[in-house]
Symmetry: C2
Subunit: 259 residues, 2 copies
């Protein structure tokens, strides 16, 4: 990846927010952030002192454009961009062959959860790259390698499956933390008591399979506790507790670990 290659971003969400910082930190030639939301663009200008624009037609040809918008907007945004641009998008679940094949198109997918205001080191983020043109694929690989040491080629199918697993391992996991926090607050207890447990949950699966590390009443078949817990919950929390219990018992049969 030549440091003189002009790069532009389209989008003002969290992915654009973090990629902008990664590129600027690594001294890459990111020139302009494009978007439709003037207020969000001004935040980028204020934070990064970078050029901003709402006029997609002004993007100079031969610019490498990273489209960081929601899946539902990718196709429409690409259609609005001038031809002769090299375009990559950052989504997990949109297939490359669902987009106009006459364009030079690729994928630049960081498998990570991004929140504004929470700084992140890019070096460990796994990037998954794909393109409809081998030269562009190499260029995207090099761009990713200039910010991360964990860069992989992946088909659209691979990327889709990784995104689905990420939804389970991040979105759903975070939601369980949210439900736990709400439950404890209702009972005047602090969520911070769970932090060492949560940290240990993650530490275990760095070296061991989650299958081996499963513990708890569902795993032990402790019906007494399961019924008590179900009686303390209602609504969707209760449905989730019951469904997890069934799912854990379906997958686990023999281990002896304990919570």
């Amino acid at each position: 990846m030549s440091k003189t290659q002009q790069i532009a971003l389209v989008g003002t969400g969290n992915v654009a927010f973090h990629l902008t910082r990664f590129f600027l930190d690594k001294g890459l030639n990111l020139t302009t952030v494009y978007g439709r939301n003037q207020q969000a663009l001004e935040e980028f200008h204020a934070l990064y002192n970078i050029e901003i624009s709402t006029d997609f037609s002004r993007i100079p040809k031969d610019t490498l454009v990273l489209v960081c918008v929601a899946d539902s907007a990718i196709h429409e945004v690409i259609n609005q961009l001038p031809t002769q641009l090299k375009i990559a998008y950052t989504s997990g679940s949109t297939s490359l062959n669902a987009l106009p094949s006459e364009r030079t198109l690729g994928v630049f997918y960081p498998l990570q959860t991004f929140s504004k205001g929470l700084a992140l080191q890019p070096e460990d983020i796994p990037f998954f790259i794909e393109a409809n043109n081998p030269t562009f694929e190499k260029e995207l690989m090099k761009l990713a390698q200039s910010i991360s040491s964990n860069v992989n080629k992946a088909t659209s199918e691979d990327r889709y499956h990784l995104h689905l697993a990420a939804v389970m391992s991040n979105n759903f996991v975070n939601h369980l933390f949210h439900l736990s926090e709400n439950y404890l607050i209702q009972h005047n207890l602090s969520f911070k008591h769970l932090q060492p447990l949560i940290y240990e949950t993650i530490r275990k699966i760095k070296t061991e399979s989650p299958e081996k590390m499963q513990t708890g009443p569902a795993k032990r078949g402790d019906t007494l506790i399961i019924h008590k817990h179900l009686a303390s919950l209602d609504g969707l929390e209760r449905e989730l507790y019951a469904l997890f219990t069934r799912s854990i018992q379906q997958l686990n049969t023999t281990n002896e670990d304990e919570l």
Copy 2:
């Protein structure tokens, strides 16, 4: 906690396994591990060079006995122990007033997930203490403080609620990792790609509320992706995906974060 106070453990599961190591490491006077499973007892003897016995009637009076057995066995085990012992159990969900009140009884509850063979530092483990006698409660507080710097008094109700929240934040979270791993293996992809994401999921909630950190298709209301994902799953995985989506949408309405 006097270092000369004799301590005995009853139980040969993972809690007993880890408490034995914590007590011995701190130079406490743990004399004997009691249990009914001779083979498991012999593992304790081999690993820790500690006395083992299947004969509960031999426990000397004035011994502090920690009963580390499943909730369903606590009552029965206590009935088999000689009177004049000080007894504490390590369970989250058994209420102190459900047990014989004429005994000197207490609770010594470590809020952590324990697996054999995976060493753990005790200093950060939150302990929750309760007793039916103020002197014994102080003694249990001191015992916990001799291995951990995070020791709290808690009622049986508090402990019950903490255990339920721990089931959600550990057991169910680990099961989601298990399902994610299975899903990726089915598609010839490695679970290790998710490790940086999982680590970041945890890092975020050290400083921010899980509510603020929720991201993903359910949160964004990205119906297109949700339907694709549902179509790729079946059985209980599909039911879990649908239920999480409803639950996330019920609790979250306004944030803009992205996965």
